[in-house]
Amino acid sequence: MMNSFGSQLKWQFVLLQKNSIITISIVVTLMYGLVLYFLRDIGSLDKLLVALVLNDPSVIGYFFIALAIYIEMKHQILQAIFVTPFNLHHLFLSKVISVSLIGMVCSLGLAFSVKGFDFNIAWYAVGSLSICILSSLLGLYMLTFSNEFLKFAMTSIPVFLAFVNLPLLQYLGVFEMGVVKCIFPIQGSLDLIDYSVSGTAINFGFAIASIVVFIPLFYWLAYRRFLRKIVHQ
């Protein structure tokens, strides 16, 4: 079982590299890093860093996982896979984990350029990985509502804005939503990142619980809908 999953995961990375996603993501991160390094003297860049993490690496998961599925559907690859004794959980997990790991590495790259090693790397990695996983799963869920990528991209704008930018605006202090913020799926991960880079006091119990609840919930929702709308049709 592990071999099958390991093999799927390896091939997902091969596919990502074949489509230049890994190389371009690293290049983009290096360029952001360079700019952030230049800007480090203008004051604290913590908020800019968090805004970038929420709007760049998380996008890798959301859009590229959906784009990969649309391309596999268009070229009848998924249809071929579905008639083999494959395990949909393996396919799902391998896709989500591969893009999320890339997103996490890019997020870490951004943080290193701003903070050096002066931040809590472990919690930051957990927070950014969780955001990437959640956005990938949301991408898998949302793609079932459109039959091609550009439509998906358009319908995604309000969804992705709500998913990422509402918590971001709350974090930036544009508005205060009180306890309502707890229903934002990425709030726990965002708190962990905030704590890691700025040392802000957070409720760890809530942050961990939020991640532990929302990731399985998103997985379940995406899996069920994918099974019904893509695999069975």
Partner: protein, 236 residues
């Protein structure tokens, strides 16, 4: 020239046949709404934004160019994926005429968008000459962007990856607004830097001649270079 116009209009109609591409035409409306109705009250409310007035125009102008950067890139990638590009390779137009026909309307459309945006906005006062120069200069982003992407990518997946990277390259010179004066032109390696600096000078009622000239020369050299690369790679 008649053939070029005919192909240009036929090509432009493609966008309206594809509902998913058509929906991207709404993006400038969002940019206009933000610049005309959302930004002025924000500036009034938050004095901290006062030093960055030109930045709002920079973002508005460059976002107007992004619509056709995306649409033209996707249309050309689609043609490559579906092998239609090979058919275009044998039409009775030379390759440069083909490129002109594909980008004539997107370029002019983008020029008009920015002419209107810069004329109706109330954030800063910009002279008519500056508006004209900035609009014609900024719209050059469209062909350079789309041709460069299509010179590099083989499929839609790679296309989207490169679009993400190119969006960042286009916007990166915004950072020049936040660095000390002596470092500003370190961002001059990016062609959009000269557009942004021209807008900045225009909003201060200073001459934009130098920056606009550098921008035009930079973009036209890039355009010539990416056009040659595109012609070599797109039709095979």
């Amino acid at each position: 020239m008649k053939k070029i116009f005919k192909l240009a209009f036929t090509d432009f109609k493609l966008i309206f046949r594809d509902p998913s591409l058509r929906s991207f035409l709404v993006l400038p409306v969002i940019v206009f709404a933000l610049i005309i109705w959302a930004v002025p009250p924000l500036i009034e409310k938050y004095a901290i934004l006062a030093p960055y007035l030109s930045l709002f125009l920079v973002i508005g102008v460059i976002e107007n160019t992004q619509m056709f950067c995306f649409i033209s890139s996707m249309v050309l990638i689609d043609e490559k994926e579906s092998d239609v590009a090979k058919v275009y390779g044998v039409v009775p137009l030379n390759k440069m005429e083909y490129i002109l026909s594909r980008f004539l309307i997107p370029y002019l459309f983008t020029v008009v968008l920015n002419l209107v945006l810069l004329s109706v906005q109330t954030i800063c006062e910009v002279s008519v000459l500056a508006i004209l120069l900035i609009s014609f200069l900024a719209a050059l982003v469209v062909p350079v962007y789309a041709l460069a992407i299509n010179s590099m990518v083989q499929n839609r997946m790679q296309g989207m990856v490169y679009i993400k990277a190119f969006n960042m390259l286009v916007l990166i010179p915004v950072a020049a607004f936040f660095v000390p004066e002596k470092f500003v032109h370190l961002f001059g390696f990016f062609p959009t830097h000269w557009v942004f600096q021209a807008i900045d000078k225009a909003t201060q009622n200073l001459s934009i001649g130098l920056f606009a000239t550098i921008g035009f020369v930079f973009f036209l050299i890039l355009l010539w270079w990416v056009s040659r690369t595109f012609v070599r790679k797109h039709f095979v």
